[in-house]
């Protein structure tokens, strides 16, 4: 860093202070509190509490429902990240080819990002609720036994669709920016050499998009793991059975509905560890293979 940029040594600190304070109050403090709470056994009102050490962790990790939730989360996150990124890439590439009204199409594509997760969930629920859903009726007319209230596969499909749909805009935006940064001369040169459009895409465009793709992979994983709570809460509530109960949803359900505060805190500490590991791993190993041009 170039120190000369700042006339005073405290100025940089002052400038980052608001962000530091926000992080301390809204991230570090609750995180520490969760770690402390994960070692306690408490009643809902906090009238009595007992230190139990790592007992909560032992119970959580030996709970079959928790192991089920890990599987559900892994499936949900991988499919959601893959779908939202691949569809966004396809749309971005197609939008680049549009000659007239490019800006108009792009604006339309970005719209869904402004929708809050809970609203997005409600939107999909209104379309696909088995009793009042607008699209549930035509589905049944086509002979599909549509009932995500009981069919766990359909329920999972529905939350994945809603979660991916909402994230496509964000990914689209970054892929469009990434595509614009690729020099046209490279693609034209390849075209003159006789490379077809598929070959041009996979050998030139796709590798050059790697930094964007890598960045989005991190963002999308975190999104699928954490930010989809609102969608799941609105659409399935974790059901049917425990078919769509992701790790984050389970933290909420055990803490809020079942009043198992110690267990809920232990789960959020585990979740925190998972995210830290995931991010560290991605940066350490995946980033090496990324070509930053």
């Amino acid at each position: 860093m170039n120190r000369a940029t700042f006339p005073h040594r405290f100025l940089p600190w002052l400038l980052v202070l608001p962000q530091l304070l926000i992080s301390l109050v809204f991230f570090y403090w609750p995180a520490l509190q969760a770690m402390w709470q994960s070692t306690l056994k408490e009643d809902p009102f906090g009238l009595s509490s007992k230190f139990v050490g790592l007992e909560n962790f032992r119970k959580v990790l030996s709970d079959p429902a928790y192991l089920n939730s890990i599987k559900v989360t892994a499936f949900f996150s991988v499919v959601t990240a893959f779908l939202s990124m691949s569809i966004a890439l396809l749309l971005a590439v197609q939008a680049e080819k549009v000659l007239r009204g490019k800006a108009f199409y792009r604006t339309l594509m970005i719209w869904p990002y402004a929708v809050a997760p809970a609203i997005a969930g409600m939107l999909w629920l209104f379309m696909f609720n088995p009793s009042f859903g607008t699209l549930a009726w035509p589905l049944r007319q086509m002979g599909i036994d549509w009932d995500p209230l009981l069919n766990s596969g359909q329920a999972m499909g529905l939350v994945i669709a809603a979660a991916s749909w909402k994230q496509i805009s964000y990914n689209f935006l970054f892929f469009v920016a990434g595509l614009q940064a690729i020099p046209k001369s490279l693609i034209e040169a390849a075209a003159i050499d006789g490379a077809g459009s598929a070959r041009r895409f996979w050998t030139i465009v796709f590798p050059l998009l790697a930094p964007t793709t890598f960045f989005l992979l991190v963002v999308n994983s975190v999104y699928a793991l954490f930010d989809t709570f609102g969608i799941i809460h609105a659409v399935t509530g974790g059901g049917p059975g425990k078919a769509t109960e992701t790790l984050v949803y389970k933290v909420y359900n055990d803490g809020y509905n079942n009043f198992l505060l110690g267990s809920s805190a232990a789960q959020s500490v585990i979740l925190m560890a998972i995210v830290i590991t995931l991010t560290a791993f991605q940066f350490k190993y995946v980033e090496r293979k990324v070509h930053y041009g």
Binding site: S131, G237, N258, L260
Partner: protein, 435 residues
């Protein structure tokens, strides 16, 4: 509205009547009522506020029943608890376990110099919200009982008698099949709250145990569930079989199925008597019957109260408690209770209100509206029908619902579902009791 004008007006009001404004004590009331029932809350509060000038009740909607309870608990932990909070029936065990956090309603009333006469209240309801020693802990604001609703138009179309509701569960199954087969409606039967209606009330109504140790009502009990007895298994296997071809339609874990019935998709519907307001509003040609019973059981016995009660939080000022007492006193008045009962379908909580409604001829004009009361009051409760009290009933219901959903999707039989529910439920009860 013009904000400046408002500001000027309130400033003027402040300076002119500063004394009067200070004298009024604000009392917060967190509730979970929606639709027709939230209008009742608003009206009762504003009528009370208009009836006197010392206290002002401020009703605040806090979401669903579980959300309201959670909001209250979180607020208590942060030292910001409301004065009055509406807690649903299954949260009763949770509230009872929090002795330092709440103020028994009986104490609130006697401290305020009111004579608290327990015999004025409907006995079954008061008993449910009292400690084993008889101290009334919470005020039974909205008590309900599950009843049968049916769509008379669909009954006629299916060739069934629109004036004969099903009496037993076997009647429900066969009528539902007739409705489905005749094409009168796409589904025969649906129900809200499978856990409350088909387990807790099913057990009480048929006089069979839901759990050991008096369904958990014995002091310090660690009960074990008994819901995998043959009578429950047979009942749920019937539902599972009917679900296969859509004769029974599942709506969700709480009251979602009401939408299915209101949309005219199903002919028969079991739901809380408190759901009546919305059914009346919809303009449907409906009929009411008592909750069906199982011919293999020992019933019909009596149903147990559902709905919710009002809890008073601890650590408030004497002035606040006086206001709460005044409000509860107002709530107990026969005309307020009559209004609540007749508009919302919830039960009146005092004998006087019940008698007054009877005398007014309301039940003659609205046959079926007395059903939830006679159902609950008809017989002296037995060991099996006093109520269900588990330290963590919301969690137990979640477990039961999860197993039902797996059963209804055909992944397991009723026997497996109920066995799993018992096994997982018992483990959760032990955990909650700290064992």
């Amino acid at each position: 509205m013009n904000n400046l004008n408002m500001l000027a007006a309130s400033l003027a009001a402040l300076t002119l009547s500063g004394m009067a404004a200070q004298a009024q004590t604000d009392i917060s009331w967190w509730h979970a009522m929606t639709g027709a029932n939230s209008e009742v809350v608003e009206k009762i509060a504003s009528d009370f506020n208009a009836s006197q000038s010392d206290y002002k009740i401020n009703p605040v909607f806090k979401g669903t029943y579980p959300e309201t309870l959670n909001a209250g608990i979180a607020a208590f932990r942060a030292g910001q608890a409301p004065d009055i909070i509406q807690v649903f029936d299954v949260g009763t065990g949770v509230m009872m376990g929090a002795e330092g956090a709440v103020m028994p309603v009986a104490d609130v009333l006697t401290n305020a110099g009111m004579t608290f006469d327990k015999s004025a209240y409907l006995p079954g309801i008061v008993a449910y919200y009292s400690k084993p020693d008889g101290t009334m802990l919470s005020f039974p604001y909205n008590s309900s009982s599950p009843i049968t609703y049916y769509n008379k138009d669909i009954f006629e179309k299916a060739g069934l008698d629109p004036n004969t509701p099903p009496e037993t569960w076997d009647d429900v199954w066969s009528m539902a099949k007739t409705i489905k087969e005749s094409g009168a409606a796409p589904c025969g039967y649906t129900s809200t709250w499978l856990t409350w209606i088909h387990l807790e009330n099913f057990a009480a109504w048929n006089d069979v145990p839901y759990a050991t140790q008096g369904n958990g009502l014995e002091p310090g009990a660690t009960p074990e569930l008994e819901i995998n007895a043959p009578i429950f298994v047979n009942h749920f296997q019937q539902i599972a079989d009917l679900a296969k071809d859509g004769t029974f339609k599942y709506g969700g874990r709480t009251s979602e199925a009401k939408q299915i019935f209101l949309a005219g998709e199903c002919g028969i519907f079991t739901e809380s008597s408190g759901g009546l307001g919305d059914i009346v509003k919809s303009g449907m040609n409906y009929g009411i019957g008592q909750l069906p019973y199982d011919t293999d059981g020992n019933g019909p016995q009596n149903t147990i109260p559902g709905g919710a009660s009002l809890w008073v939080m601890g650590g408030k000022s004497d002035e606040t408690y006086k206001g709460v007492a005044a409000f509860f006193d107002y709530l107990s008045q026969p005309d307020v209770q009559e209004y609540l009962h007749q508009t919302s379908g919830y039960l009146p909580v005092t004998m006087a209100a019940y008698e007054a409604t009877k005398e007014s001829g309301f039940y003659d004009e609205n046959p079926g509206r007395e059903t939830p009361i006679t159902q609950m009051m008809g017989k002296e409760p037995t060991e099996n029908s006093k109520g269900v009290r588990l330290p963590n009933l919301p969690q137990i219901r979640d477990i039961e619902n999860e197993e039902f959903e797996k059963m209804l999707s055909g992944d397991q039989t009723a026997q497996q579902a109920l066995d799993n529910a018992v096994e997982r439920g018992n483990a959760a009860i032990k955990e909650a009791m700290g064992q």
